[in-house]
């Protein structure tokens, strides 16, 4: 029998801590496998529709705030770094550094969610929301161009716009064209992209909120002296989940925010 059989951290149904840690890792990885498949379904659906409607996806993506997504990437990757450093602190028995690094991780994750909330609010303000808001915005831009010739519409400057609003740009682009015509950007499919944007970032956001909750729970456990060095695997389990959520963002970010980056030129 090894010395690891005598730890108070050892659960009664394991022979030793090695076995306990190995079981924890395997269980967490099996859970992560289900998470990968869950997101894979979303990525699969996205792939089909982007393949079918590339112009609409590019147009809609170009209206999203890629600069905020870039800052959020910085925050999330930084949080993965501090999370891994927290495992190190747990292993070294450095309780203060452990709590500090966990709190920084939670703060970076919260910063991500804060910026995400700001971004959603901006999108809402811009009426970049599928349904009634989107449609009424587009209809009013269409009405303003009503009765013009193609040349007049192309040269038309909308009064209130410093920068052309997405609805005005779309109305001008589609002027004189209809479904099936070359170059027509279907408003329905632009809204379809927006649905993907809200669903994918929303589900990712929910995962991040759960992760922040788990990290804060670890902080409490640290102060309760429940994470001695031999129990570092508790921190490691949360970190595995955290990194997966980070890795998923690394794919979501270019798919949603950079699909239409070429249209900024």
């Amino acid at each position: 029998m090894s010395a690891s059989t005598h730890s108070p951290v050892l659960k009664h149904h394991f022979e030793d801590l090695h076995q306990q840690h190995a079981s924890e890792r395997l269980g967490m990885w099996m859970f992560l496998a289900t998470e990968v498949l869950f997101f894979a379904g979303l990525f699969a659906a996205y792939t089909i529709y982007r393949m079918l409607y590339p112009a609409e996806f590019e147009f809609a993506s170009s209206k999203l705030l890629w600069s905020i997504a870039a800052i959020n990437t910085l925050l999330l990757v930084s949080s993965s770094f501090t999370m891994t450093m927290a495992i190190r602190s747990a292993q070294l028995g450095d309780k203060k550094a452990l709590a500090r690094r966990l709190l920084i991780t939670a703060a970076l994750g919260s910063g991500f969610m804060g910026l995400k909330a700001f971004e959603y609010a901006t999108d809402f303000h811009e009426k970049l929301v599928p349904g009634e808001l989107f449609q009424s915005e587009l209809v009013s831009a269409d009405l303003e161009l009503n009765g013009m010739t193609a040349e007049q519409a192309a040269a038309y400057k909308f009064d209130d716009a410093k920068h052309e609003h997405w609805a005005q740009e779309l109305a001008k682009h589609n002027f004189g064209k209809g479904p099936g015509d070359e170059g027509f950007i279907s408003p329905e499919r632009v809204q379809l992209f927006l649905m993907f944007y809200y669903v994918m970032t929303g589900i990712h956001g929910v995962h991040l909120v759960v992760g922040i909750g788990c990290v804060l729970w670890l902080v409490v456990e640290t102060y309760r002296d429940k994470i001695p060095p031999e129990n570092y695997s508790t921190v490691e389990m949360v970190s595995l989940y955290w990194h997966l959520v980070d890795a998923i963002w690394l794919f979501l970010m270019p798919l949603l925010y950079l699909a239409g980056a070429g249209m900024h030129h």
Partner: protein, 111 residues
């Protein structure tokens, strides 16, 4: 007691392979750098056209591999953990191959 630089006595024999901060910092910098390249390329380089998506996905895959290997400790994982990680990718592969084999073989014209 708590010493940030040296591993404590390990009476239970379960603490080994403590990550080096320099390694973690290197991984962190690499992932950020690849993100910067991906974003910079997408926003700053005109005319990428159809090459943009494959390039972006290549960069994302590089980042994910680095995160999985170093941050998620696949480099020191048991075989069953490696098998679980590989299985999830394999299952995802089945999903993509099957739906793409439908969509990619649909005729773009009508007879």
């Amino acid at each position: 007691m708590s010493d940030p630089h040296h591993a404590p006595a390990d009476p239970h024999g379960v603490i080994h392979d403590v990550d080096k901060p320099a390694t973690l910092l290197g991984v962190f910098a690499t992932v950020l750098l690849v993100s910067a390249v991906s974003i910079g390329m997408s926003v700053g380089v005109p005319g990428l056209g159809k090459m943009a998506l494959p390039l972006q996905m290549t960069f994302s895959t590089i980042q994910a591999v680095v995160v999985l290997y170093f941050f998620m400790h696949l480099k020191k994982a048991d075989r069953v953990v490696l098998l679980s990680a590989a299985a999830s990718l394999f299952w995802m592969g089945i999903l993509f191959v099957l739906f793409l084999s439908d969509y990619l073989t649909r005729a773009k014209y009508t007879y």
